[in-house]
C-alpha cells in the first residue's frame, strides 16, 4: 500500500520537475522572443511587411525572398545580429531596394509574411526617408546638391525641392528637400546616394519617422475648403481709421494710396 503511494508521489515529483524545467526554458525563450521584436532602425524589411509584430508571426525564415531578389539586396539575419534570427532585411546605406516592378520577393514568400496584396511596388512602405540632419544637408546650407531628389525613383513626387529664402546670404534661395510620406516607399536610394560621409537623409521605420496629428485636430483651411465657406463668423466689412488719402481693401490689394 505504501509502495503504491510512493510511486504516485514519485510520479507527481517527476512530472513537476519536467514541467518546471520546461517552464524555465519557456520563460527564457519568451523573454528573448520579446526582445527580438525590437528591430534596429537601420534594418529595413522587404516590401509587403505590414508590421514587425505581424511579420514575426508569419516569416518562417526560409530565405526564398533572398533567393529571388535579383539584386542580392536582402539577407537573412545571422546569430548575434540584432535582427530576429533568420529573418530577411536590408540596409539602405549599403544597398537600397531596387523596387522591381514584378516584386519577386513578395511572389516568392510562401507564407504571406510579405503580403501578396502588394502588387504595385509604389505602394510599398518599407520605411520613410527623413532629413535627419539639417546641419549637414548641403541643400540646407544653400548648395544645390539635390542628389537625394535626383535619385528618387518617384522623382518629384516622394521628394520635392521647396524654395525658401536664404536668410544667411539674404538674397539666395534654399532648395529644401521635403519627403512626402504618401509617396515615399522607403526604398533607401536617397540614403544610399547622400554624398556626405554619414547620410543626412535616412530611411527610418514608419512608426519612428511619422508623426500623427491628434484625431480631434481640424485644420481651418482644410475644413473651409471642404465646406466651401468659412466655418467661423463671416468676414464683416471692416471700418479702418486710416489717415487722409489712404484706404484698405480687405480682399484685394491691401493698403492703397488715394491717387487723387
Amino acid at each position: 500500500m505504501f509502495e503504491h503511494l510512493l510511486s504516485r508521489r514519485r510520479f507527481i515529483v517527476e512530472t513537476a520537475r519536467m514541467i518546471s524545467g520546461v517552464a524555465l526554458l519557456g520563460i527564457g525563450l519568451g523573454l528573448y522572443t520579446k526582445e527580438s521584436k525590437s528591430l534596429p532602425a537601420y534594418a529595413l524589411r522587404p516590401p509587403g511587411v505590414k508590421s514587425e509584430d505581424d511579420f514575426l508571426s508569419a516569416c518562417i525564415r526560409c530565405g526564398l525572398c533572398v533567393r529571388d531578389c535579383p539584386y542580392d539586396i536582402l539577407k537573412l539575419s545571422k546569430l548575434a545580429e540584432p535582427v530576429a534570427l533568420g529573418t530577411p532585411y536590408f540596409e539602405a546605406r549599403k544597398v537600397p531596394c531596387e523596387m522591381c516592378e514584378d516584386i519577386p520577393c513578395v511572389k516568392a514568400c510562401p507564407t504571406g509574411a510579405l503580403d501578396k496584396e502588394l502588387t504595385n511596388i509604389d505602394d510599398a512602405r518599407m520605411g520613410l526617408a527623413v532629413i535627419v540632419d539639417q546641419e549637414t544637408c548641403l541643400n540646407y546650407q544653400g548648395l544645390r546638391c539635390d542628389v537625394c531628389h535626383r535619385v528618387c525613383p518617384l522623382l518629384n513626387e516622394a521628394i520635392t525641392l521647396e524654395p525658401r529664402h536664404n536668410q544667411r546670404s539674404g538674397k539666395h534661395t534654399l532648395f529644401i528637400p521635403v519627403v512626402h510620406s504618401d509617396k515615399c516607399t522607403g526604398c533607401g536610394k536617397c540614403e544610399r546616394a547622400c554624398v556626405l560621409e554619414a547620410a543626412a537623409i535616412k530611411v527610418l521605420p514608419l512608426e519612428l519617422a511619422k508623426g500623427e496629428l491628434g484625431h480631434h485636430y481640424r485644420l481651418g483651411w482644410e475644413e473651409k475648403e471642404k465646406a466651401g465657406e468659412s466655418l467661423v463668423t463671416p468676414d464683416r466689412e471692416h471700418k479702418y481709421n486710416l489717415p487722409e488719402g489712404l484706404k484698405y481693401e480687405h480682399d484685394g490689394k491691401g493698403l492703397l494710396k488715394d491717387s487723387r
Partner: protein, 302 residues
C-alpha cells in the same frame, strides 16, 4: 554469447557481412543528409542557371515547381496568429504525407543535419567509453514541443525558430554561418559530455513533432529473424532510441513485434547494419499483425 563492449559495436557484423553491408544504411543516410544540403547549394556554387532547390528546410521550392514546407514551423506560425495561405499549406501537406508514409522521424535520421553532429557525439561516447551525465525522461521533448507552441501563442511570434539548432544549422550552411557554430558546438558538447543522446533523444521538439506525425506511419523496421538474436546488444548500443527495440526483439513471448511500432523509431536502419545475425530488416507496419496471427494459428494447431 555475452554483450559486446561499446567500442566494439559492429565489429562482428563487419566480419560476417563485410564493411559495406555492415555500414550500408549509415552510408545511405549520410548521403541523403548531405544531398539535402547540396541540393540547396547548386545555385550559389555553380551559378544562376543551376538551381535545384531554393530556400531551406523550413520552406523550399525545388525545380521552381515543388513547394515543401515544414509543418511544425507552419503550425507555430498558425499558433502565433498568422493566417495560413495555400502556397505554404500545399508544401506542408506534401511533407506531412511523405513522412506519414516513410516514418515521421525519418526526418531526424535521413534529413536533419544536426543528426550528424549528435551521432558523432554518441559515436565518440562509445569509442572513449564516456558514461553518465544528466538523465531525464525521453518524454521531456513533448513538454518542450507544447512549450514552443504556447510561447508562440503568448508572444505572437515564431519563437522557437530564434534558437532552433536544426534550422540554424541548415540555414547557416546555406546562407552563411556568423556565430551559429557556437549553437552547434553547444549541442555537440551537450550530447558528448552532459547527457547521452540528450538533444535528439530527449529535448528536440522538432523530433517530437515528427514522431507524433509518424505515429502510425507505414514503413517500419522489423526484427523478422528475432529467433536468431544472440544477445550481443550491438543494436541497443547504436540505437538512438533504444527503448523502441525491446518490444519488437524480445516480445515473442508477450506476443508483441516483430515490427518496431514505437513512434520514436527513426528508421535509421543502424540496427540492421550492426546485426551480424541479420535479425532486422525494413518492413511495414502491417507485417506485425500478420506474423502475430500466424503464431496464434500455430498455437491453436494440435
Amino acid at each position: 554469447m555475452s554483450a559486446n563492449s561499446p567500442e566494439k559495436v559492429g565489429e562482428e557484423a563487419v566480419l560476417a557481412k563485410g564493411w559495406w553491408r555492415a555500414n550500408k544504411w549509415l552510408l545511405l543516410r549520410r548521403t541523403s543528409q548531405l544531398l539535402v544540403i547540396v541540393l540547396f547549394l547548386t545555385g550559389p556554387l555553380l551559378g544562376e542557371g543551376y538551381w535545384i532547390a531554393k530556400g531551406n528546410l523550413t520552406s523550399s521550392l525545388t525545380f521552381d515547381i515543388l513547394p515543401l514546407t515544414d509543418p511544425y514551423v507552419l503550425l507555430q506560425s498558425f499558433f502565433a496568429g498568422h493566417e495560413l495561405i495555400s502556397q505554404a499549406l500545399i508544401g506542408a501537406v506534401i511533407v506531412t504525407v511523405f513522412y506519414f508514409l516513410v516514418g515521421g522521424r525519418v526526418f531526424c535520421s535521413w534529413v536533419c543535419p544536426v543528426n550528424i553532429v549528435t551521432d558523432t557525439a554518441d559515436g565518440l561516447r562509445r569509442k572513449f567509453n564516456i558514461k553518465g551525465g544528466a538523465r531525464f525522461s525521453r518524454n521531456l521533448r513533448y513538454w518542450v514541443l507544447a512549450m514552443t507552441l504556447i510561447i508562440a501563442v503568448i508572444s505572437g511570434s515564431i519563437a522557437w525558430e530564434l534558437i532552433n539548432p536544426v534550422s540554424i544549422l541548415h540555414r547557416s550552411i546555406i546562407f552563411g554561418f556568423g556565430y551559429a557554430g557556437f549553437v552547434i558546438l553547444a549541442v555537440f558538447i551537450f550530447d558528448l559530455l552532459l547527457s547521452r543522446q540528450g538533444w535528439c533523444g530527449h529535448l528536440c521538439p522538432v523530433g517530437a513533432f515528427y514522431s507524433v506525425l509518424g505515429r502510425i506511419s507505414f514503413i517500419r523496421v522489423s526484427a523478422v529473424n528475432r529467433e536468431n538474436c544472440d544477445d550481443c546488444m550491438d543494436c541497443f548500443l547504436v540505437c538512438p532510441e533504444k527503448q523502441v527495440i525491446k518490444p519488437a526483439l524480445k516480445g515473442a513471448k508477450k506476443g508483441t513485434g516483430p515490427v518496431i511500432m514505437d513512434k520514436n523509431c527513426t528508421n535509421c536502419g543502424r540496427c540492421i547494419d550492426v546485426c551480424a545475425k541479420n535479425v532486422f530488416k525494413f518492413s511495414n507496419r502491417f507485417n506485425n499483425d500478420m506474423l502475430l496471427n500466424e503464431s496464434k494459428k500455430e498455437e491453436v494447431a494440435p
